[in-house]
Amino acid sequence: MHEVNVDLLIVGAGPAGLAAAIAAAEAGAGEIVLVDRLAELGGILQQCIHNGFGLRFFKEELTGPEYAQRFMDKLADFPQIRIKAETMVIEIAPDQRVTRVTTVNARDGLVIYNAAAIILAMGCRERPRGAINTPGTRPAGIYTAGSAQRLMNVEGFLPGRRAVILGSGDIGLIMARRLTLEGIKVEAVVELMPYSSGLTRNIVQCLDDFGIPLYVGHTVTEIVGRDRVEGVVVAPVDSTRVPDQKRAFRIDCDTLVLSVGLIPENELSLQASVLLDQATGGPVVDSDYQTSVPGIFACGNVVHVHDLVDDVSEESIVAGRSAAAFVNSRRDERDLCDRRDRRDLCDRRDASSALSFSEHRPDAFIETKAGRNIRSIVPQKLRRDRPTVLYIRVANPEQDVVISAGGLRRKLRQVTPGETVRLTVAPEHCSEELQLTVTVEKSEA
């Protein structure tokens, strides 16, 4: 087992890790290692072969792999970024002045990197059937949307012949179209909530155009079939989401595709004692995307589930730059130490970017606070010296509203939990001393 010292290590080479690596290199972070467990870089994008990526970031409509390719092409300009593909990070342990990252791959076996800073960009995973506790049998033919998508778009296989999809977010809708185009009969899309959280454009293009029925306010109450799925029982739910078994009906199918939510993949973050936010399931971050552990940054779906990859790229650039600043300030400190051989100086950590919010005085940051109809806000801690882009998710759909963040107010025709609201707040918007409350209110008239 050998150990390697590096300036920055990035866990995950999806759009978040890619953008962060490039931004960090541009900001002079020094030696960077970019690790991904898959053979190909690009993360989840490699299996999203549909259009709809990059409208804001590149001002054109790209497929997932095309979007990833733009960043991968740029990597070539930065020889200081070393790529470790098919390499899994299995442990992260913050140590005195470095973070120890244990990786494993077939070529090098176990390798430990001692990194001055790291960026968490592990993305998210899908909620499986067990997590929603659907009763019934456990036959072959139950796939999460991402697994089905991977089987088709990367491996080239058909998961079944007749499918029912549970969950009508954009992923569920896009899978309905994808399955249909490959000749799989999609019998229905079933949605627990009284509305689809997907984009209207996706409901039209993915369901209506193919005549696929959408059952909102319904759920799958039983999976039938001993060896392979033979059907599902679907029932309407009441306002407390309890199914009405008397009105249940059966739909014959051989495949059930689950698109019932994503969970930020934070096992490694927890190992590293990074503080998580209950509302997002991801690390609490500040305006620099630094977590509660100094030198550990995070961006992309590991922080909160994004609907748009453009937002991922945007925040990951911030994370990459901040990590570079951290590395550089640590290096300056170290140089200082080496020159003067003075330990007390090494320990005087006052370069602000080298400190985590957890080490600062409580009033150094403004804390964001969820008010009426707000589910989550990222970042959770705002710097006082410059504007920050907030990504806000509402709890319930609402029409004709005003969203406000401190003194900043914006009118919106509608908000839904499926679409994040993006707001740039500046220090002057903070009316309260230590916190910034975000709320949604009905707009008068």
Binding site: M1, G130, A131, R138, F157, L158
Partner: protein, 505 residues
């Protein structure tokens, strides 16, 4: 077709059959084990609570009581020899109110009569010191230090591999359909579920066959056996009736179990029982050897022999109950659920012994709980019955009791590094949740797994919090490569359960 001959034919590849196979492999006799499913442990032995019971629950004088206590004592050495996942974690039975304490005391006395050692009664304070996450208002508890936990399918594979290493022939995917006794031996007819071998069985399968089930023409195999042991679990009644013995009828009783995330490792250390009811040991909080918490089982009679569905009612019953014992448990930690069928019979006790029809046909049936615990002791008892019936059991000169398996997650970092250097397959991580390498999956296939479930039960890949979302496509690929089958022929658990419907055009 040439007849195969064997001294002993064991029908059924659950824990009862495989424990017996291993026991018999110590002796100079030929042994064949036949299992109708494409893999071992696909029946009740994979879907149970995995508890190595202490033996306090069973009525004194019964085989259940005797074999449970004996079996329990055999586990530590067996685990050392066979390297399966076992832990002597101890168990507690809790009394919720003061007025339940007399019942605890009666249970303690019953245990003592059964020969269970070390049982003691403790008060609330000591209980909470042992198990701080239990409800603070529980009144008292019994502690059974000999209680243990085991990963039951891991045990079955360990037993079978060791038996096979010592000469037992294991025939999978082959269902015994008819038995004739003549000239002091049995002629046994068996059919392959679909095709001759499990491999061919899978090759013959397509998704169309799944929809038009059981239309394949079945080849037949004939075996001559001097002795037969009926370890057919839920189907022991059917197998008995093949020799005209109608004394056994099985009435399946379903038990649902709910598995929580490993995040909760250490939530309880002991297996936590409430006071038993007249029909069952109640709904329990079970720590598993791998660090999950399991809740269950329910107990509900069913007419069906393959009704493995979980129900909303079952979940409510389990969860509402365990929350009274441990209020901190959260439904959001659920990762999966399953159900198992107890082979409850028309007899109150295990049915172990010769059939009234033929002395050379031995039943090992009605093995409901504590059948898993009792299995190694039951195997010895069956051997005694075989001897009484005239089988000469002469110990082999060479019997190797040891079986080993590589689990990289149990190795230290430097051991892992060394192993990975020798064989890079161990450094390709396939299951990220449970940390299982391609090397282990390849090993599992070479040890007999032919299906996704077979790989999963042997390696744990796909059993973690993402439930196979990430590793399933990869395992299909490895199975396909190792078995030399196209991916669309790979199944979840044998004929009728294909995972893929074909290739994209």
């Amino acid at each position: 077709m040439a007849h195969k001959e064997t001294d002993v034919l064991i029908i059924g590849g659950g824990v009862t059959g495989t424990a017996l196979a291993r026991e018999l492999s110590r002796y100079e006799v030929s042994v064949m084990l036949m299992e109708k499913e494409v893999d071992l442990a696909f029946g009740t032995s994979k879907a149970n609570s995995g508890i190595v019971h202490s033996g306090i629950h069973d009525r004194p004088g019964t085989l259940k009581a005797r074999l449970c206590v004996e079996g329990n004592r055999m586990y530590p050495q067996m685990a050392q020899e066979l390297d399966f996942l076992y832990q002597n974690n101890g168990a507690v039975v809790v009394a919720r109110q003061e007025d339940e304490i007399p019942a605890l005391k009666r249970l303690m006395e019953q245990g003592q009569q059964n020969g269970v050692t070390g049982v003691r009664l403790i008060g609330r304070g000591e209980l909470l010191a042992l198990e701080p996450h239990l409800a603070p208002d529980l009144a008292a508890a019994l502690v059974m230090p000999s209680g243990g936990i085991v990963i039951p399918f891991d045990l079955v594979y360990a037993l079978a591999e060791n038996a096979a290493a010592n000469g037992v022939e294991i025939v999978l995917g082959t269902q015994v359909t008819d038995i004739q006794e003549e000239d002091g031996a049995f002629t046994v007819q068996a059919t392959h579920i679909a095709g001759r071998t499990p491999r061919a069985a899978q090759a013959a399968q397509t998704i169309q066959a799944a929809q038009t089930a059981q239309t394949t023409v079945l080849p037949v195999e004939t075996v001559r056996a001097r002795y037969i042991v009926n370890a057919a679990g839920l189907h022991a009644g059917t197998v008995a009736s093949m020799i005209g013995d109608d004394s056994i009828s099985i009435h399946p009783r379903k038990g649902e179990e709910y598995l929580l995330d490993r995040r909760l490792a250490g939530f309880v250390r002991h297996t936590v029982f409430p006071l038993p009811t007249p029909v069952s040991k109640g709904i329990l909080i079970i720590p598993t050897v791998e660090g999950n918490i399991m809740l269950g089982p329910t107990a509900c009679a069913t007419d069906s022999f393959d009704d493995y569905g979980t129900t909303a009612v079952g979940w409510r019953e389990v969860f509402d109950y365990v929350r009274q014992l441990a209020p901190e448990l959260k439904a959001s930690d659920l990762i999966t659920a399953f159900a198992g069928l107890r082979a409850a019979s028309n007899h109150e006790d295990f049915i172990i012994g010769p059939s009234a029809v033929s002395q050379r046909f031995i039943h090992a049936a009605g093995m409901e709980s504590p059948g898993l615990t009792a299995a190694p002791a039951a195997a010895r008892l069956v051997c005694e019955h075989l001897q009484e019936a005239g089988l000469d059991l002469k110990p082999k000169k060479v019997f190797d009791p040891i079986r080993r398996v590589i689990r990289i997650r149990d190795l230290s970092a430097s051991e892992q590094a060394q192993l990975m250097q020798q064989d890079a397959a161990y450094s390709k991580i396939v299951c990220r949740c449970e940390y299982v390498s391609e090397g282990e999956i390849r090993d599992a296939i070479r040890r007999g797994a032919t299906t996704l479930d077979g790989v999963k039960l042997r390696t744990r890949s796909g059993m973690g919090r993402c439930q196979g979302g990430f590793c399933t496509p990869k395992i299909i690929g490895i199975l396909s490569r190792e078995l030399g089958l196209p991916p669309e022929k790979i199944t979840k658990r044998g004929p009728g359960s294909p995972l893929l419907a074909g290739r994209l055009r």
